[in-house]
């Protein structure tokens, strides 16, 4: 997997570069719009991490040009600008995800992985994992063959976990996808819901179904 990093801050750029290299990605770092255009012209990439405030232009303009030229690989915007306004603008212009600075590297990695595997997302109407079965149409859940009652939120959370089995989901990702906003992070709402979900689905003595990944988030084991 080859990732292009467009980031003008030398330190942040090299940090992402080495971090992604450690996670076995092939990476290339450029620091301007000009260099980014060149890089995309003479090489192919599976994903782009794009900073918006670049010395010779706006990352959003770059994104618009790429999308217009038919570049369809996932683009993750990384920006120090206001999350709400720029997120909407970025996503409208064809970005696949948006991460506000300062960010955690685990968050970046989790999102990048999710983007790179998105193409493989299952479109099934019944999701199953380790004895837990969710019927998305009938909105019913069974664990070990026994029906479990879930609230709307719990159902949405479980669906998200099953769609992303095995992947680390950060709290921010969960908040954005289940609550469509990131303000829930002000509270421990996500932890509380995960705890309730575990209580309803996990049998005593079993390996935990939902694993806590320290410092980053949760993972369906």
């Amino acid at each position: 997997m080859k990732v292009l990093i467009v980031e003008d801050d030398r330190k942040v750029g090299s940090f992402i570069l080495s971090g992604l290299a450690e996670a076995t990605y092939t990476t290339r770092l450029v620091r301007s719009c000009e260099a980014a255009r060149d890089a995309l012209a003479d090489d192919t990439f599976d994903a782009v991490v794009l900073d918006l405030g670049l010395p010779d232009g706006d990352g959003l303009d770059l994104l618009r040009q790429w999308r217009a030229a038919g570049f369809n690989e996932p683009v993750l915007i990384l920006s120090a600008r206001d999350a709400v306004a720029d997120r909407i603008k970025g996503l409208n212009l064809g970005a696949d995800d948006y991460l506000a600075k300062p960010f955690s590297f685990d968050e970046l990695l989790a999102r990048l992985r999710s983007l790179l595997r998105r193409q493989a997302t299952v479109k099934a109407t019944v999701l199953e994992h380790r004895g837990v079965s969710v019927d998305l149409l009938a909105r019913t859940v069974t664990a070990g063959g026994i029906q479990v009652d879930l609230t709307n939120r719990e159902f949405a959370l479980l669906e998200l976990f099953l769609q992303n089995a095995g992947r680390v989901l950060t709290r921010t990702m969960i908040a954005e996808r289940v609550w469509e906003a990131s303000h829930e992070l002000e509270t421990n709402l996500i932890d509380v819901y995960v705890r309730r979900l575990r209580k309803k689905l996990e049998q005593e003595g079993d390996e935990p179904l939902i694993r806590t990944v320290r410092g980053s988030g949760y993972q369906l084991a």
Binding site: F15, P102, A181, H183
Partner: protein, 456 residues
């Protein structure tokens, strides 16, 4: 009624009152003078009549009238009967002569002071002006009818009242027209000033060509707008720069901290690294909150206000609120959830409610009940969240919405916030053209925070 219109009408009323009062004073004074002059005229006629009688009769030495005198009087009073009434009395009031036109009526007995006075003699001849004159040992009373004078005066009074009413109405109309005319330049200034907002701070009020108070006012306001524009530009620039300048080093600090935390560390070092990351997280949150507030102050918040059904929004929030409350060993009740539609940004309004909820959770005793109500009253959507905590001393009720103000919370994480939660909640509420305030519960100890925004 809007304040400008009420000022216009106040001005009109003041003007009308002044004009009407002045006219009324002049008219009443005129009426008094005319009345006085008319009576004086009657008195002079009585005096002239007495002078004439005196030339015909000799002054009696005793309070008796002899036959020739009576004959003269009878003849004279018959000639003058259309105009005058006569009565001659002894000083003790005994009537010696009375003119025929008095009929059975009598004039009041003489007072002995040679006075002039008005009297009403019933049934005939009606209102009179009487003069008393001493002639030798008898008193001659001569009376003229006041009827003509009275009629004249009452007509005059009617005319004056009508005139005053006309003047009152007329001056009200003139005053209203005049004050509107006078306030027209002020309204022009008002319109421009109202149109100037965060979006078009470059606009200025046109300064009238005249060198008067209004031109000065326009100039002063324009100076003020200059300063505001500068301040806004500075806030915007600061916000943009602070975002970048603060967030990039913070991002690096966090990235390095996380990397450090992932390496092989002793338990003590690991705790230190986690503490470091937590503090960085707090710092990040404070910076984000401050940027949010400064953006809100500058009117630069990207709010997406659209009509939404409030019932579903409240139900979703209530589910999360109940979950959070129960997790902390407290209870949550949704007391009411009215149907309706209001323009709001669900993500931001949710943030307001979550801020209020965290606050209520901080101050509630274990097992305490949080009561949430959502109602539509007179076109306004009101949400209230009441806790069972200690409440807030009345002087502090407004202060809790200020920045960096914290009250000692019962629970541990009270120390954790920066005291920006309620300030942000209020800012977002105001961007929704709403109000946010706190009251102590009247029924028991506890704080009730009320959020009110216009409904659709």
């Amino acid at each position: 009624m809007n304040p400008r219109r009420s000022f216009t009408s106040r001005l009109a009323f003041a003007y009308a009152a002044m004009v009407t009062a002045t006219v009324l004073i002049v008219l009443v004074a005129g009426r008094l003078i005319v009345g006085h002059q008319l009576i004086r005229g009657l008195d002079l006629l009585n005096v002239a009549e007495f002078e004439e009688i005196r030339t015909h009769i000799a002054a009696p030495a005793t309070p008796l009238l002899d036959e020739p005198t009576l004959a003269v009087l009878r003849e004279h009073t018959t000639i003058d009967s259309p105009m005058y009434f006569f009565q001659v009395c002894a000083p003790n009031g005994r009537v010696l002569f009375r003119s025929a036109n008095l009929g059975h009526s009598a004039l009041p007995p003489p007072s002995g002071q040679a006075r002039h006075y008005s009297v009403e003699v019933r049934p005939e001849p009606g209102p009179l002006r009487v003069g008393e004159f001493a002639l030798g040992a008898v008193w001659i009373e001569i009376a003229g009818s006041r009827e003509a004078a009275d009629t004249l005066l009452s007509r005059l009074t009617m005319t004056l009242l009508t005139l005053s009413a006309v003047v009152a109405l007329g001056s009200l109309a003139v005053g209203y027209w005049f004050s509107r005319l006078a306030l027209q330049p002020v309204r022009a200034i008002e319109r421009t000033a109202a149109a100037i907002g965060a979006a078009n701070l470059r606009e200025r009020i046109p300064v009238p060509a005249s060198r008067d108070e209004l031109a000065e006012l326009a100039r002063l306001l324009n100076h003020m707008f200059d300063r505001i524009e500068t301040a806004f530009t500075q806030v915007r620039r600061f916000t943009a720069e602070a975002s970048h300048e603060l967030k990039t080093p913070l991002a690096l600090a966090r990235l390095h901290g996380e990397k450090l935390a992932r390496t092989e560390l002793t338990p003590a070092q690991s705790d230190e690294a986690q503490a470091l990351l937590e503090e960085l997280g707090r710092l990040q949150k404070i910076i984000e909150d401050l940027l949010l507030l400064s953006r809100a102050d500058a009117g630069e918040m990207p709010l997406n206000r659209r009509d939404h059904a409030i019932e579903a929004f409240v139900a979703e929030f209530a589910e999360d609120a109940r979950t959070l409350a129960e997790d902390r060993g407290m209870r949550f009740a949704l007391a009411s959830n009215d149907r309706g539609v209001a323009p709001f940004d669900p993500a931001w309004l949710r943030r307001v409610l979550l801020n209020l909820l965290s606050n209520a959770l901080k101050f509630s005793p274990p097992g305490g009940m949080l009561t949430f109500a959502s109602t539509i009253v007179n076109g306004r959507w009101q949400m209230s969240l009441a806790d069972e905590g200690p409440g807030v001393p009345p002087p502090e009720l407004e202060r809790i919405f200020e920045r960096f103000v914290q009250l000692g919370g019962r629970n541990a994480e009270a120390e954790n916030g920066a005291g920006l939660g309620l300030a942000i909640a209020r800012s977002i509420t105001e961007l929704h053209r709403g109000r946010l305030w706190a009251e102590n519960r009247p029924d028991r100890s506890g704080l009730k925070v009320i959020l009110e925004i216009p409904a659709a």
